[in-house]
């Protein structure tokens, strides 16, 4: 009995070949690990029986989650951030969507200038946006605080809303609107029944983006909010002493809520696609 010897590669070569083939996957796993280290840390330390400073692990507890307002000022700061975020998101989403429709659906003089004016705030560092606004408020004797902060947040959110909604409008199939017109819908009906529902996911995405930008903003807020506290300001000022575990609870809940919204959005999209 003679068997044809199957040529086998030496082990070292096989290993290197396996690595070569899976390099990108190994890399992706490492990348995701890196991405999630601070998140896992933040969530883990929301369960820390920490006492005053939340630097060292002192044992597991649900107390922080049962009592998220336990640390002084943390919930009033959170409340301000939510209020600013909701108002700024609403205004910025409306104004930005109107601009996006103007740019995406109309040809008019000054389109290039409009595009430039939309792009500029995104290309300007936050420290410049924040300090220039504060300087103007001071020049007009307006005290920094809640409304100046809202005005600033609307300003830097508009551009991101325009870009997001514009992309959605550009990706629409023009034949859908043509079909509506062929079926004797007038312009207004076409817009209300066809165009707007089709653009809606883009508007919703833009609103989510605007809210997260507003909620997370520190630099511009720090310039224009005066003595009013916001959640990022709270974290920044307590960072030196060590932030209370309640801040981790709030951060972790924001993470989970956002995750649920995004996953739900994906599922809705998938159902619609079917």
């Amino acid at each position: 009995m003679s068997t044809i010897p199957i040529p086998t590669l030496p082990v070292s070569k096989r290993i290197s070949r396996w690595f070569g083939r899976n390099l990108i996957r190994i890399y992706a796993v490492l990348g995701f690990t890196y991405l999630f280290i601070p998140v896992i840390y933040t969530i883990a330390f929301s369960f820390n029986n920490s006492g005053k400073s939340n630097l060292v692990w002192r044992g597991f507890t649900f107390n922080n989650w049962m009592n998220p307002c336990g640390a002084p000022d943390v919930c009033s700061a959170l409340g301000n951030s939510l209020k600013i975020g909701l108002i700024a998101t609403t205004v910025a989403t409306i104004l930005g969507t109107l601009i996006a429709f103007a740019i995406g659906r109309h040809r008019f003089r000054g389109r290039a200038t409009t595009n430039l004016l939309i792009f500029l705030p995104m290309a300007t560092p936050e420290v410049v946006l924040g300090s220039s606004l504060l300087a103007m408020f001071l020049a007009f004797r307006i005290n920094p605080g809640f409304w100046p902060t809202v005005a600033a947040h609307v300003m830097f959110c508009i551009s991101f809303v325009v870009v997001t909604v514009k992309a959605r409008i550009a990706s629409l199939d023009p034949r859908l609107e043509q079909a509506a017109m062929d079926l004797y819908a007038n312009e207004r009906e076409t817009f209300r029944r066809v165009t707007l529902p089709l653009v809606m996911p883009g508007i919703a995405g833009a609103a989510l983006l605007a809210f997260s930008l507003s909620f997370d903003d520190f630099i511009i807020t720090n310039f224009n909010s005066g003595t009013m506290n916001t959640f990022p300001k709270f974290v920044y000022t307590s960072a030196a002493r060590g932030i209370p575990a309640q801040a981790n609870v709030i951060g972790s809940s924001m993470f989970l809520i956002a995750l649920v919204i995004v996953v739900a959005g994906q599922l809705v999209n998938r159902k619609k696609a079917r």
């Binding site: 008019f108 560092p125 300087a135 005005a151 959640f231 924001m254």
Partner: protein, 297 residues
């Protein structure tokens, strides 16, 4: 298709009636941007050439058109300017190196997990920016688990620390601005027709050649958008430097912040802001021109 579209456009169905409608749509948003973006910038230009009122209180300034403010401010903040651009460049390059393979893996190798992975890549950034930065400070700090482990393995000496250093600042910036890099990269890689890669393979290009000659050039819009969206916030950032750095790693943002709030020196803060904005706009313009992707936004 194209013929139909142009016919419809000419008929004016979807372009709206000529006239006022587009301007009415633009008006409220543009007014807002004018009031809270353009006016402040003009006002900032005015502030930048003011000088203190003789015998006045701190914070009282008068317009004297002293353009030498710019020279003084630049000379006083030269190291911080240099650091801002060096750190931001390093963070941008690091973010590109980390994000590109990640975006590539999601776009081409993730199969039916694509959407889940895309959510996962953005998910860490749903926790607050500041919480993440503080988390890195604690992870890399004396009480964290990294430093004792590295010391036990004799990789770093007993005196070496990881926080309060330039390394920590650049690491923090790289991490914090990563989604701004990954998402545009993914968007441009996703758009590549896999058949172009197969064609390259059929023409006897190996993996590296295919990447160099086909994949990378086609992903250029994503690379340009990603690097800009990372570099701009990184150059103006002062939060990472304040939390993860030491007095020798301050950036231009720290100087503007402290000139404004601690020293109440508005003209210097204004001229620094102006120079930072001008420098970034010039760099961005050159960069977009040279990379040949004018259609960016």
């Amino acid at each position: 298709m194209a013929f139909l579209q142009s016919a419809v456009t000419r008929a004016g169905f979807f372009t709206g009636k000529k006239g006022r409608l587009p301007y009415l749509l633009l008006l409220p948003g543009m007014l807002w941007l004018f009031t809270f973006f353009i006016l402040p910038i003009i006002n900032l230009a005015g502030t930048s050439t003011q000088t203190p009122v003789v015998g006045g209180d701190t914070g009282q300034y008068v317009q004297t058109f002293r353009f030498a403010n710019y020279v003084d401010a630049f000379n006083a903040a030269r190291p911080q300017f240099a650091r801002s651009f060096i750190y931001a460049t390093l963070a941008t390059l690091l973010a590109l190196a980390i994000s590109y393979p990640l975006a590539y893996a999601i776009a081409f190798r993730s199969g039916r997990f694509k959407n889940i992975l895309l959510v996962l890549v953005v998910a860490p950034f749903f926790t607050s920016f500041l919480l993440r930065t503080v988390a890195w400070k604690q992870i890399l700090g004396e009480e964290g688990f990294v430093v004792p482990t590295l010391r036990a393995m004799h990789i770093i000496g007993p005196q070496t620390t990881l926080t309060a250093s330039a390394l920590a600042v650049v690491t923090g910036m790289t991490y914090n601005f990563l989604p701004f890099m990954t998402l545009p990269l993914y968007a441009s890689l996703e758009r590549i027709d896999p058949r172009t890669l197969e064609a390259s393979n059929d023409l006897y290009a190996n993996g590296i050649t295919t990447f160099r000659k086909v994949t990378f050039p086609l992903s250029m819009p994503g690379v340009v958008a990603g690097t800009l969206l990372t570099f701009i916030p990184a150059a103006g950032d002062y939060v990472n430097a304040a939390i993860l750095g030491n007095p020798n790693t301050t950036m231009i943002g720290n100087v503007i912040d402290s000139r404004f709030f601690r020293i109440v020196d508005y003209p210097t803060a204004a001229s620094l802001s102006f120079m930072l904005m001008a420098a970034i706009l010039i760099l961005v313009t050159i960069y977009i021109r040279r990379s040949g992707t004018d259609e960016l936004v």
